[in-house]
Amino acid sequence: MISASEATALVGVGILLTALYLQSESFVDPLIRGIALQSLLVAGLLAGLAWTEQSIELAVLAGLTIAVRSLLIPYVLRAQLQSFRWRVREVRAAHRVTSHALGAVALAIVAWFIFQETLAPIFPQPGAALPFILLVEGLFMLATRSTTLVQVIGYLEAENAVVYAGALFAKSFPLFVEVVVFLDVLGVVLVGIILSIQREVTGTPEEASLSELSG
């Protein structure tokens, strides 16, 4: 029988694997499904912690994670994708998928070493390094991908990392539910409004190369 902390670490490894999978994928639909799965795993982890800790806040967070990041935002992203069937693959990233995947693995190792050297004594829980690695992976995706739909996925991954870290280390963090709701609002604003405006004004979800914005 595995302990609760070992089970948490095991789900954490699953979350990390989804993160590495996302880095190696250039087709947008599987990326959306991947982030939905990752959010579901985070929600499962939150639900498990809510059960063991008898915490209503963590249960609310689990519900929010499923509702917003596992269902609503992926649904909206897929609806956006329907309008751009020709854009089912991130063309620029497709040429660099191998280097992205290798870079992501290298980053995960570096983040793990940094964590061990600096924060491990403060956070001795099994799998404590995983949310930090997940954050780095999310930021890496944001920085290296050029399609707005995929950048949203990077943002959601970073948000998953914050929720994961908060649930693991700072369960009594004041206003944590409110903070996560706020991040979700921003996610919905990002996805729902700006992407729609972008489609209307520029006709593409691809990051434009505009000479006006150079310099």
Partner: protein, 478 residues
């Protein structure tokens, strides 16, 4: 009659822009405008009320003010008011706006509310929410003019600022795990024992909030958002949004007590110097006058960060610099907005001979340009001088030299380009008709006047607040 309770001013400060945001949605643009103007006047009045009553303390579980918050409130509510005033004319000249005037005013008031809320809460988590809320409220304002470049700028702003703030949230999680509280006032009054975890949390906060402050290399959203936003919004971005994010960082830094650990001051110094130098160099090659102003703001934020790292009298200099810069830079953006509205272009090369075509705007613009670049006798000069003197006083002559070089480069870069637009001759046979003066030229004069007064006189109530705020940060006074 007794003076109102401080909680009354706090209530008014928050309720006025919140109510204005809601009332602005009434489907009559005149009502939106009137509600916004009333909200802005009331919140500025409440700030004056706090300054005059020298309110300091914690009210309830989450609200609190001191001299530091009051100085920043003066900036935010001041620029909020002038931007609301300037918006009416600006909106008139936006053809095919993406937002209706009602939604524009609602978002502008919500943007101001988010900044004000950031400045009056005691909890660092709530402060983080406030800074994040500014992103939500302001991102849509950038796309007002429905241009592809605006949408792109809004996207970059949202994604980069949010990524930075995610790092800041991680920093707060770490800080909370180590200290058990996020009450900034309590942590400042009784700083925790220094540890690697706390220093790491503060270092992450510098990177996280630094993204919103516009520190190099996390600044990439800044020139795009400032140049593509409508001018009244650019004024709020440059004048007060960046300082509001800096305020949140200052509150985190206070957790360390004084003097701050060498690792943190070195990190601030590195970010500050890099930001000031890179911005001063980049602004030399700008083709858009709004981007030119954006890089100038970045340079000022770099100087302010260096001042915070140095401490001592530099902290007083930082506060004076921020206040004067907020008013001067907003004046510069209002003038830039006038030129953009009248000429239909933001290209430096396409604007010439403004002294004849737009004489009132051009004088305000020249005054604002010399003010933002630290010319005497404006408050920016006093602030920058104090930072350089503080560098010399700690024996860092090299640092003083680097700062002076950045200031000089920015001064030449900004004033040369604006000088070309004001005094440059139009090419002979230019078929385009020269731009005409717009009615809203007066707002820029008002703000550049405040930047001047901050430099030459001790403004009643504000001057003591500036001194108290510097002392609160552990600074010495000139």
């Amino acid at each position: 009659m007794s003076a109102p309770d401080p909680t009354f001013w706090l209530f008014l400060l928050l309720a006025a822009p919140a109510a204005a945001a809601l009332l602005a949605l009434v489907p009559y643009s005149r009502v939106s405008q009137l509600a916004s103007r009333t909200g802005a006047i009331l919140s500025f009045g409440a700030t004056l009320g706090l300054l005059v009553s020298r309110t300091s303390g914690v009210f309830g579980s989450y609200l609190g003010v001191d001299a530091l918050s009051e100085v920043f409130l003066f900036m935010v509510t001041g620029i909020y008011g002038t931007s609301v005033w300037y918006s009416a004319g600006y909106l008139r000249d936006v053809h095919r706006p993406f937002l209706t005037p009602q939604v524009y005013y609602a978002l502008l008031n919500a943007f101001a509310f988010a900044m004000i809320a950031t400045l009056v809460v005691t909890d660092l988590g709530l402060m983080w929410i406030g800074v994040e809320a500014t992103t939500v409220a302001s991102a849509l304002l950038i796309v007002l003019e429905r241009r592809p470049a605006s949408v792109e700028a809004a996207w970059r702003y949202t994604i980069v600022a949010s990524a930075g703030l995610t790092i800041a949230l991680f920093a707060l999680l770490l800080l909370y795990t180590t200290t058990g509280t996020l009450n900034a006032f309590r942590l400042a009054a009784d700083p925790p024992v220094p540890s690697l975890a706390i220093e790491l949390a503060v270092a992450l906060a510098i990177v996280g909030f630094g993204t919103k402050i516009g520190l190099f290399p996390m600044h990439t959203w800044l020139p795009d958002a400032h140049s593509e936003a409508p001018s009244p919004v650019s004024a709020m971005f440059s004048g007060v949004l960046l300082p509001t994010a800096l305020y949140a960082l200052l509150r985190v830094l206070r957790v360390l007590g004084t003097p701050m650990p060498a690792m943190i001051s070195d990190l601030l110094l590195a970010f500050g110097i890099a930001t000031a130098i890179v911005a001063a160099l980049l602004l030399q090659r700008q083709r858009s006058f709004k981007r030119l102003l954006a890089y100038s703001s970045m340079e000022v934020m770099g100087l302010a960060t260096v001042g915070i790292a140095i401490g001592g009298i530099a902290l007083y200099g930082v506060l004076v610099l921020l206040v004067a810069h907020a008013f001067a830079k907003s004046a510069a953006f209002y003038s830039a907005g006038n030129v953009l509205r009248a000429g239909g272009t933001n290209r430096i090369a396409e604007v010439r001979d403004l002294r004849h075509s737009m004489p009132r705007t051009s004088i305000a613009w020249v005054l604002a340009a010399v003010a933002v670049t630290g010319a005497p006798p404006f408050g920016t000069f006093v602030g920058e001088l104090l930072i350089v003197v503080a560098a010399i006083s700690i024996g860092a002559i090299w640092l003083a030299g680097v700062l002076a070089a950045a200031i000089l480069l920015a001064f030449i870069g900004v004033n040369f380009q604006i000088g070309r637009m004001v005094w440059g001759e139009r090419p002979p046979g230019d078929p385009t008709s020269p731009p005409r003066e717009v009615p809203e030229w007066g707002v820029a004069y008002l703000n550049v006047g405040v930047a001047l007064v901050v430099g030459v006189a001790a403004i009643p109530y504000l001057a003591p607040a500036l001194r108290s705020a510097a002392a609160l940060l552990g600074g010495s006074l000139p």
